[in-house]
Symmetry: C2
Subunit: 450 residues, 2 copies
């Protein structure tokens, strides 16, 4: 009996895998069989050669990795890339970004999201967690371009109860959208912009509707100190007392998490994760970074992220992976900590868990959705290969991703984007920039005052 | 009268320039005219269109920058990329790198240098300062592949006076080699491996022969503390008392430079510069980085570098530029310090000065040698452009360099290397790796004992 053709077979290639202890390893000379968007099996290339398939990709000289997950970003902010440079956090928000964002239209968000998805797909990102405004437009772009996303409509208490209601309405309406590629969250902005009663109400809604929460908290040490000075508690303690830690929560940044916060996070009854985006912390000259090792020690997954391009200047999760390894070594003073294999664990399973997809993606294993990237290591900067994990983390670059696949569908082949026309997006966006960047009105969407 | 054809004209493009205060700026819609390897003029693209040329490059959508200079590397160590991961400095040297280097043959050095030049040319590096062994082989590769280099034969006092003599002989024989593309230096390894009498003799030879000195010094805080404990002085004080600071000296790393060293450096009678390679300092978890701001304040140029790929994992000077900006902001606690324009100044004029070529390259200006790279900013990760300097430093990547030109000769066109065959180099190198990596003999070329 002839088996029915697989949808996609990638062979021959080397495959990053996780063993039953979740250790990162590599299977050489392998083939990946994908059927109906799901990884059916990882077999030898010889076996894979024999099987029929509707589509085949030659993986020679390439490494197959689970697609990267950008665990916290504001994708449409690529439109603001480079507008607010070399500024402290407060001026960045109050003098530039929040005044500009008061001009945002749904069309700006749509074009920014499309450009961001192009950048991410080219950089091997197959899923992103977005926390922004006019998210219907982002969802439409996700539907259209084929990427996976975890979306939340952001809100401030200054919007009144309508902010929270809109976030809930968005989350319920888009949950499971784009053929299951869209998952959703409630998205209060942060404890310094959303008050306790709003957070408490959010936590209740999250539990009532089975939705996770994605928010900024303890972003930096200043915020933590301001919270203690004003409220007598840290931002993490605010999350506990408002019930947010009883939900499944994704905390962006957490560089202001104190040692005293760790037992609180460890005893959270919900599934808690933190997203780290170290580039921006360096650029803002924040005094600390996400305490990845301490979070590891209490079993909290830390996913990789870029934040928005207005602060990070790129959506390059590959760079976040390398920087996380380097900055963790530096800040702990321990060159043996956060090895390349650990970095790849953050980039795969921990990032998938952070966005609530720990059983769905994050690993190239039977039953997982086929979110796969192929990385070319034949360039002079990645040769010779003595330690494949180190080559991937410390020598390879996002530009070495040749092919990006989501749900078994090829979104980039040999560096050519198949679902987004970049020149037309940049051209259309450029016409809108003068109106978007106008700050003469003196408005801002919110004040930064931790 | 028809003018004789220029050798090369690049038009239309945007050109990074320096004004008479050395401020970095950009000239748009320009053309660069190159004649006999020298930049003749930067004119309007309309004017450039009218001029005849033997060769033309279309620079549409691209930015012309002075080629990057890798101010401190050990190019052939790309052969060891990834062999010594996640180790403290001492184990890295004593247990892995120095045992392996005792196996080095001239052929290994040649192949490593060729692979390294391929990586650097692809990353927009047009000149590198190399400090290694069997440097005849490196000089031959430089001659053959068309890159520019500042070369020194490294030595330890453990080699006896022959080490120093060989370094001098190399420097004299190769000075001005490869049609002027090779400059040379005396290359004592470091104050912890070369004793005071050898350093004193080196300083005398440098002055006698008009040669600069390139060495490691005050690489990290541990070395500085060990020097004080053993000799009662810092490594910088050793350089002063041995006369090295009376020569033109390029100091690699300097992350262990103390505040008390600054007046010594400021009063050096020779031309002093420091090369910073921050990636490795993070990876080794060194507690400090090069004090770029303090060196700036006393007028000492700081060039960008990668060190060898055995510690840095890449020869990506573009990454060094971005990391220098980020790490300087972070370590000074000042987000306004080391702006993108400052980073580009380090990448251009300061790096050229660091390797003694401050009047020769480092700027796209009439009379400078035509070491030029073209950077493509049409990718989604570099759009839109609100601040061109920020786009270059914080969004662009080395893989955005499309064309690399040295002395007016195109070494890479549209990402295709024209002078190096990478697959044949990697194939030949891979056969030699088992012998190179063998550590069963128990030898090492030197002990690391600061």
């Amino acid at each position: 009996m002839t088996p029915s053709p697989a949808g996609l077979i990638i062979t021959p290639c080397t495959v990053l895998t996780h063993d039953d202890q979740e250790q990162v390893g590599f299977v050489h000379d392998a083939g990946i069989v994908v059927r109906e968007g799901v990884i059916e099996s990882v077999i030898s290339s010889a076996q894979a050669e024999e099987l029929p398939a509707a589509e085949r990709i030659d993986g020679r000289g390439q490494i197959a990795l689970p697609g990267l997950v950008n665990c916290h970003t504001h994708a449409p902010m690529v439109a603001l890339r480079g507008v607010a440079e070399d500024l402290p956090t407060e001026e960045w928000f109050n003098d530039v970004v929040w005044p500009i964002e008061s001009n945002l239209t749904e069309k700006d968000v749509e074009l920014g999201a499309r450009l961001a998805c192009a950048e991410m797909i080219r950089g091997g990102v197959t899923c992103f967690a977005d926390h922004y405004f006019s998210m219907d437009a982002v969802a439409a772009v996700v539907e259209e371009c084929g990427i996976r996303a975890h979306l939340g409509e952001a809100y401030f208490s200054s919007q009144g109860p309508q902010g929270r209601e809109k976030s809930l309405e968005f989350a319920l309406r888009h949950r499971g959208g784009a053929g299951g590629r869209i998952t959703t969250a409630l998205a209060p902005h942060a404890p310094y912009t959303v008050d306790d009663s709003d957070l408490t109400a959010t936590a209740l809604l999250a539990r009532e509707h089975g939705l996770p929460v994605h928010l900024h908290a303890a972003e930096n040490r200043d915020q933590t100190e301001a919270s203690i000075a004003r409220h007598g508690v840290t931002p993490i303690e605010v999350l506990r007392r408002t019930g947010i830690l009883d939900t499944d929560v994704l905390i962006a940044h957490g560089s202001g998490i104190l040692d005293s916060d760790l037992p609180i996070l460890a005893s959270a009854s919900g599934r808690t994760a933190v997203a780290t985006a170290p580039r921006g912390y360096l650029k803002f000259a924040w005094p600390t970074t996400t305490p990845v090792r301490a979070l590891h020690d209490i079993g909290i997954p830390v996913g990789l992220a870029t934040d928005g391009a207005a602060s990070n200047n790129s959506l390059d999760v590959w760079e976040s992976m390398a920087l996380t390894a380097l900055i963790q070594k530096s800040t702990t003073g321990d060159p043996r900590w956060l090895t390349s294999r650990q970095a790849l664990h953050h980039a795969s399973l921990q990032s998938a868990r952070a966005v609530g997809l720990g059983e769905v993606v994050g690993s190239i294993a039977p039953g997982r959705r086929a979110d796969i990237i192929l990385v070319d290591l034949t360039g002079p900067h990645t040769q010779p290969v003595h330690d494949l994990a180190a080559t991937l983390v410390h020598s390879a670059r996002s530009s070495d991703v040749r092919t990006t696949i989501v749900d078994g569908r090829v979104l980039m082949r040999d560096r050519e984007l198949l679902t987004i026309d970049v020149p037309s997006v940049t051209e259309e966006l450029s016409k809108r920039l003068p109106a978007l960047l106008d700050r003469s009105h003196g408005r801002r969407i919110q004040d930064y005052d931790t």
